[in-house]
């Protein structure tokens, strides 16, 4: 009977040759060293390679949003399928895109992207996968309008599934600013001298330009007087205490009363209200509406990703996540009973048409991205 050839057998034979004098000491130690080196180098990378095929990496916005995803979607999914979901966070779409660009294909799998403009950017950079929609039957529950806008970008195919929507509206501390004053001043309250040092804003160039367009009475998807827009951004900058860079910072600034008014993400403001803070929230006319999607990167394990997307779109999962993160789900309220809490969330549209929200036009924003993001970087610093 022949002995099974494994590493132990190989070592034993080598040792026997050495003991018999067939192999000099230098060669014996050299071969042992080479074997150790090969094992040491191979093992950690092999571990990642095996892991990559057996797990899905998901990146999202952190904070209460990630907590909701983890609790209501990822953990139950892993329990059901045995596929682990590794979740990471990012502070914004730009930062995440930079990370993806620096990575190897397959390193990042699914991202919770915001806006059709981000979808278009990823698609144009060749980072998009093509989903097999047959593996995602729960896609039928999604508001058709939300699906169609993505299809239009990617020639009829889909690289993502819509998941939720919300607004970036005006958040204010009711102790210092009344609802009536907010209604009267609208977006212009962010450039009101009376609140100098108690105003803040997101450091995102799109949001700054959107609100400056509103403050100067222009269409946020088609401003014609950009000088006026930049002047309004400068005014806001000079009156602001600081630009916030994450949802956690936004919540902290409002909760600690460092600021009285800022624009803010509807779900985060709702979370503050749930915590008992007397923070008001208002979407001004033409306020910034956005839809978020679960985008699958090229090179990802598609079947596992599609299984996760389908699980996440199941009404029970989607509703639980939506209630946890405080953003209405992309599910069509005409098809699915969304329960009691979701209709109370900011930006919720019971008709499922989303006709009351103004979304960013991807062509307009992506066409000006290079110039405006750079100019904003300068204006932000006093120029």
């Amino acid at each position: 009977m022949t002995k099974k050839m494994d590493n132990t057998t190989r070592y034993e034979r080598l040792r026997e040759r050495y003991m018999n004098g067939d192999l000099d000491r230098r060669s014996f130690l050299g071969m042992i060293g080479l074997a150790g080196l090969a094992y040491g180098v191979q093992t950690p990378f092999a571990k990642y390679a095996h892991a990559a095929a057996d797990q899905v990496r998901f990146d999202g916005w952190g904070g209460v949003v990630s907590e909701a995803f983890r609790e209501y979607a990822f953990d139950p999914f892993t329990e059901k399928t045995g596929i682990p979901v590794v979740d990471g966070t990012f502070g914004g779409g730009d930062e995440y895109l930079s990370r993806v660009k620096a990575s190897q294909e397959g390193e990042y799998n699914i991202a919770h992207l915001s806006g059709v403009f981000d979808y278009a950017r990823y698609y144009n950079l060749g980072l998009a996968s093509t989903l097999n929609e047959e593996n995602i039957p729960n896609l039928k529950f999604v508001i058709p309008k939300l699906v169609d806008v993505f299809r239009n970008v990617s020639d009829g195919a889909l690289s993502c599934v819509p998941y939720d929507y919300g607004t970036t509206g005006l958040a204010y501390n009711r102790k210092y600013i009344s609802d009536e004053e907010m209604k009267e001043k609208g977006a212009k309250i962010l450039i009101d001298e009376a609140y100098k040092g108690k105003i803040a804003g997101w450091s995102d160039w799109r949001t700054r330009i959107w609100y400056a367009s509103l403050q100067t009475g222009q269409d946020p998807n088609g401003a014609t007087d950009m000088d006026a827009v930049w002047d309004a951004i400068r005014t806001h900058r000079d009156l602001s205490l600081k630009y916030w860079t994450s949802g956690a910072e936004l919540m902290s600034l409002l909760a600690e009363e460092e600021i009285y008014v800022t624009e803010g993400w509807s779900g985060r403001i709702y979370a503050l209200q749930e915590q008992g803070h007397d923070i008001g929230y208002m979407d001004p006319p033409n306020g910034f509406g956005w839809q978020e999607c679960l985008f699958v990167m090229k090179g990802s394990p598609m079947e596992a990703c599609e299984e996760l997307l389908n699980f996440m779109l199941a009404p029970e999962t989607s509703i639980a996540v939506a209630e946890g993160q405080n953003y209405p789900p992309a599910l069509d309220p005409q098809q699915v009973d969304l329960g009691d809490k979701i209709p109370t969330l900011p930006a919720f549209d019971p008709t499922g048409t989303l006709s009351g929200l103004t979304f960013a036009d991807p062509d307009y924003w992506n066409g000006n991205e290079a110039e405006w993001s750079k100019t904003f970087g300068r204006v932000q610093k006093g120029y």
């Binding site: 730009d94 930079s98 950079l125 205490l241 902290s252 600690e256 460092e258 610093k381």
Partner: protein, 288 residues
């Protein structure tokens, strides 16, 4: 192989792991950054390979980058000065204390056990409108409304001093420890007062340590990114924030590469000047 040849080869064999690491993890990435700085960003965000001088022309001629660079160097210089003024007495006290040096040095090192970001953010809880200081001042009735202390250049410098002070203290401490105290005794026996002894003997002999600490504080301060982001206001960006924006927000890696090399070159010149006049040996002692 002759004994001489073997002896000549031995240091290189011992150095080879470190040299390999430096080559792989420092020089090769730097080379990539250098190559990238000559590429161009296209409108879609993709990079266009080639040899273009546009990024360098922009980085070197645009007054925006020059102004922020000078502002960064100014903030780093102020931070270094404050660290020197605060760090020297602390180092002197530790060096001249009897019996409890180890405990004092341990206390000096303790902040390093906590994340730099957490240490920076702790100032929000101290200086914020609802922070410890405002709460205390309101409680004892000195003020009736909270004072806005955060998000300005002063808090950026404060955060940097908090981060960099241990580097200064350690360098000065090492220098003071190396001074023969008999020299101070000799000065005293020749009629010098304690103050004169300090000014004419101790201080000049400890200057290399002060300079090494100053260099470390300046270089680390000028390259910082987190502190102005967390504790600064809209106008308090430093040069590293520009690099971040170019690479992350604008997805302009070629310009970001040129900017990062520009900062590296400026700080490199400062290190070379230091090395020319004081040598790197003192710095190594402090770091050790």
């Amino acid at each position: 192989m002759s004994v001489e040849a073997r002896e000549a080869r031995q240091p290189w064999i011992l150095l080879s792991p470190a040299l390999t690491a430096v080559a792989l993890f420092l020089f090769v990435p730097l080379l990539f950054i250098l190559v990238y700085s000559f590429w161009l960003r296209t409108a879609t965000g993709a990079d266009q390979a080639g040899f273009y001088l546009d990024n360098w022309r922009e980085a070197l001629t645009d007054t925006f980058y020059r102004d922020i660079l000078f502002s960064t160097l100014r903030i780093a210089a102020i931070t270094t000065l404050v660290c020197a003024l605060m760090g020297y007495p602390a180092a002197y006290f530790i060096a001249r204390s009897k019996g409890n040096k180890a405990i004092l040095l341990l206390m000096l090192m303790l902040p390093f056990w906590i994340s730099y970001i957490i240490r920076t953010m702790s100032w929000i809880n101290i200086l914020g409108v609802s922070g410890a200081l405002n709460t205390f001042l309101l409680w004892i009735g000195i003020i009736t409304d909270p004072i806005q202390m955060l998000y300005n250049e002063t808090t950026v410098i404060l955060g940097l001093v908090h981060f960099l002070l241990p580097f200064m203290v350690l360098n000065v401490f090492v220098s003071l420890e190396g001074i023969d105290t008999n020299l101070e005794d000799a000065a005293n026996s020749l009629g010098a007062t304690r103050w004169e002894t300090f000014l004419q003997v101790t201080l000049p002999l400890s200057l290399p340590g002060l300079a090494a600490g100053g260099l470390l504080c300046f270089v680390l301060g000028a390259g910082t990114y987190i502190t102005p982001l967390v504790l600064g206001g809209p106008r308090d960006a430093m040069f590293a924030n520009l690099v971040f924006e170019a690479i992350i927000t604008q997805l302009n890696w070629p310009l970001g590469s040129a900017l990062s090399l520009m900062l590296l070159a400026v700080l490199g010149v400062l290190v070379m000047i230091y090395n020319r006049y004081l040598g790197m040996a003192q710095l190594m002692k402090g770091l050790g």
